[in-house]
């Protein structure tokens, strides 16, 4: 084959690849574009008309912050957003601390029952939340809390505490810790560091990739949880975004512009978190998926 036609064939193949990529990218991006663009369309009638054509994805016509303002002032959005931030933030942060501590004990410390505990934690990974949701509901109904009221329903702690301990997070930390070179911790032992000091000053600073992975995975999972809030939260005071959105979505008359504004603001944090952390997350998440 002559050099020219070979290069030509390569160029054509590359072009074809870009076309395919372009079409797929459109498939994956357009719904999101649609959401963002519709959120800015303050004329509801126009929004509905635009859906019939490509104008659905174009920021045309009457645009403005009107929908966003409506949602922020006249719906429980702001409260729900704050609730989500609080609940997810606390759960993820405490989760990283507590799960990595357990993983460190399993990875580096010798104690009676270690092997059994490790096996149990790994076995717990496959227990789906749906299988325990109902008995968990019963359980939290009976648990005491400060302030003498019985049961945990309709509160912050009911949405946080059951989710701090997470078997898969423990597993991810464990895999990472056992791969760290042991002599760093031995050197610290020789320097007189306590186990806690070693964990806090040596191991965790070196664990940024796995911390990022666990943070992103847990953030995504907790931010979007609807099942548990549906079961334990009433009203708006403690509702997080997915629940608030379900309520708003079920209200009539439905203003799609506002619904889209609500949705856009609700999902912006997860998109942002992913974009910021994607370097670390992509690399270590998939390697641990393979090991699983």
């Amino acid at each position: 084959m002559s050099g020219d036609s070979q290069r030509g064939a390569e160029r054509r193949a590359r072009l074809a690849l870009y076309v395919v990529h372009g079409l797929l990218a459109a498939f994956f991006l357009l719904p999101l574009v649609f959401m963002f663009v519709s959120a800015f369309k303050t004329d509801e009638a126009q929004l509905l008309r635009d859906m019939n054509s490509l104008a659905a994805f174009a920021p045309v016509g009457q645009l403005g912050w009107g929908n966003f303002a409506e949602v922020m002032h006249n719906t429980p959005f702001v409260r729900a957003f704050a609730n989500s931030l609080l609940v997810v933030g606390v759960t993820v942060t405490l989760g990283i601390l507590v799960n990595s501590m357990l993983a460190y004990a399993l990875a580096r410390l010798r104690f009676a029952g270690r092997n059994l505990l490790l096996a149990v934690v790994i076995a717990l990974i496959i227990v789906p939340f749906e299988a325990i949701a109902v008995p968990l509901l019963l359980l939290v109904n009976e648990l005491p809390w400060f302030g003498a009221q019985r049961g945990w329903l309709d509160s912050y702690h009911v949405q946080v505490i059951p989710f701090i301990g997470h078997a898969f997070s423990v597993y991810l930390f464990y895999q990472f810790f056992i791969a760290l070179p042991k002599d760093l911790e031995e050197a610290a032992l020789m320097d007189g560091a306590s186990r806690w000091r070693i964990y806090w000053s040596i191991v965790m600073p070196l664990s940024k990739p796995v911390i990022a992975t666990v943070a992103v995975l847990q953030f995504l999972a907790r931010w979007g949880d609807l099942l548990w809030p549906v079961m334990v939260v009433r009203g708006d005071t403690f509702a997080t975004l997915p629940l608030a959105m379900q309520t708003f979505f079920g209200q009539f008359p439905r203003q799609w512009g506002q619904v889209m504004a609500f949705a856009a603001m609700a999902t912006l944090p997860t998109l942002a978190v992913f974009l910021v952390f994607q370097r670390w997350f992509v690399k270590s998440a998939i390697s641990s998926a393979i090991k699983g």
Partner: protein
């Protein structure tokens, strides 16, 4: 002569050697301090409810326990009732139809995306991010967006379908038509989920040593032959993993169908209600805890069976390799 002795002589007057036997020192107390918080949390909020589910499934417990009703041990009655409950079978059927279509479809799609993204092309990283964006989008939001896109008159989906079929396919009410709603949910679920499985396949692809392809190229294999004879066999374990996890996620289907059900403009709930949705409505909506617990246990057994199948299949592969 000192060099003939095994040791150098110790100074006169050194204390006699005492033979001490020691047990290996463990890290006991420290270890439990590290392990206690997570162990306690997992124990109380995961293990305990799980055991409760098993026990409760054999009772007739109710959410609001009135003194007069009490709770009795009822043996297998909940399970029997479940197996005779039409709603249960319909929900199970919905799940199975969903799995049967989504698992292979989403997995194949994920493989395609992974292969595309793996090509040495400028901008692959960008496309990889784009394909993953839906995964980073909250599922409730995804359901809402697609609800609008599925609008019966002048919806984006109808317009697209009409365009692609040259007007042959009329606009449908995707979410209100009981025959179509499940498929509509499938599309949006695949849209949201395929990015993650793509990453898993990508890792599997990148683990295949490049020399295999180079050797095949020297032997004159075409790209398609390389794919069939190198890529596919080397991806066996990854494929099994992806299929299994997609299957498990498909059985856990809840959020998107719940959002659509609560939208008020959807098909009769039977046509798309899933097992998990049923469980929530039963146990929580009607307060029949015993019933819902039986459902939970069945659900767990199902997931466990699927996971075990995966381990078996993977172990065989590893033994052969």
């Amino acid at each position: 002569m000192s060099s003939l002795q095994m040791t150098s002589s110790s100074a006169a007057g050194a204390p006699p050697a005492t033979v001490r036997r020691q047990r290996p020192r463990g890290d006991g107390a420290t270890a439990w301090l590290f392990a206690a918080p997570a162990t306690a949390l997992l124990g109380i909020f995961l293990v305990l409810p799980f055991l409760m589910a098993v026990v409760l499934s054999f009772t007739n417990k109710r959410l609001i326990s009135a003194e007069e009703l009490g709770t009795d041990f009822v043996g297998w009655r909940n399970y029997a009732r479940l197996l005779q409950d039409d709603a249960f079978w319909v929900a199970l059927k919905n799940n199975f139809v969903f799995v049967a279509i989504v698992a292979p479809l989403q997995s194949a799609f994920a493989l395609l995306l992974a292969v595309l993204v793996n090509q040495p092309l400028a901008g692959s990283r960008f496309f990889r991010t784009v394909y993953f964006m839906p995964v980073a989008t909250t599922m409730a939001v995804v359901a809402v967006i697609w609800s609008l896109m599925y609008a019966p008159d002048g919806g984006v989906v109808n317009r697209f379908v009409g365009f692609v079929s040259f007007g042959l396919i009329a606009p449908q009410d995707w979410l209100r038509d009981p025959a179509l709603v499940l498929y509509a949910v499938m599309v949006l679920s695949i849209w949201q989920g395929v990015g993650f499985q793509m990453l898993v396949f990508l890792a599997g692809l990148q683990a295949i040593p490049v020399d295999l392809y180079e050797a095949a190229k020297l032997d004159g294999a075409t790209p398609w032959q390389q794919f069939r004879h190198i890529t596919v066999p080397m991806l066996k374990n990854t494929t099994i993993f992806v299929l299994i996890t997609t299957t498990i996620y498909a059985f856990q289907l809840y959020t998107q169908v719940q959002i659509i059900a609560s939208s008020g403009t959807a098909a009769p709930v039977d046509s798309f209600r899933t097992v998990v949705m049923l469980m929530v409505h039963e146990g929580f909506g009607s307060g029949k805890i015993g019933h819902a617990a039986a459902l939970s246990v069945l659900f767990f057994v199902l997931v466990l069976a699927i996971s075990l199948i995966q381990r078996l299949l993977l172990k065989e592969e590893r033994a052969v390799a």
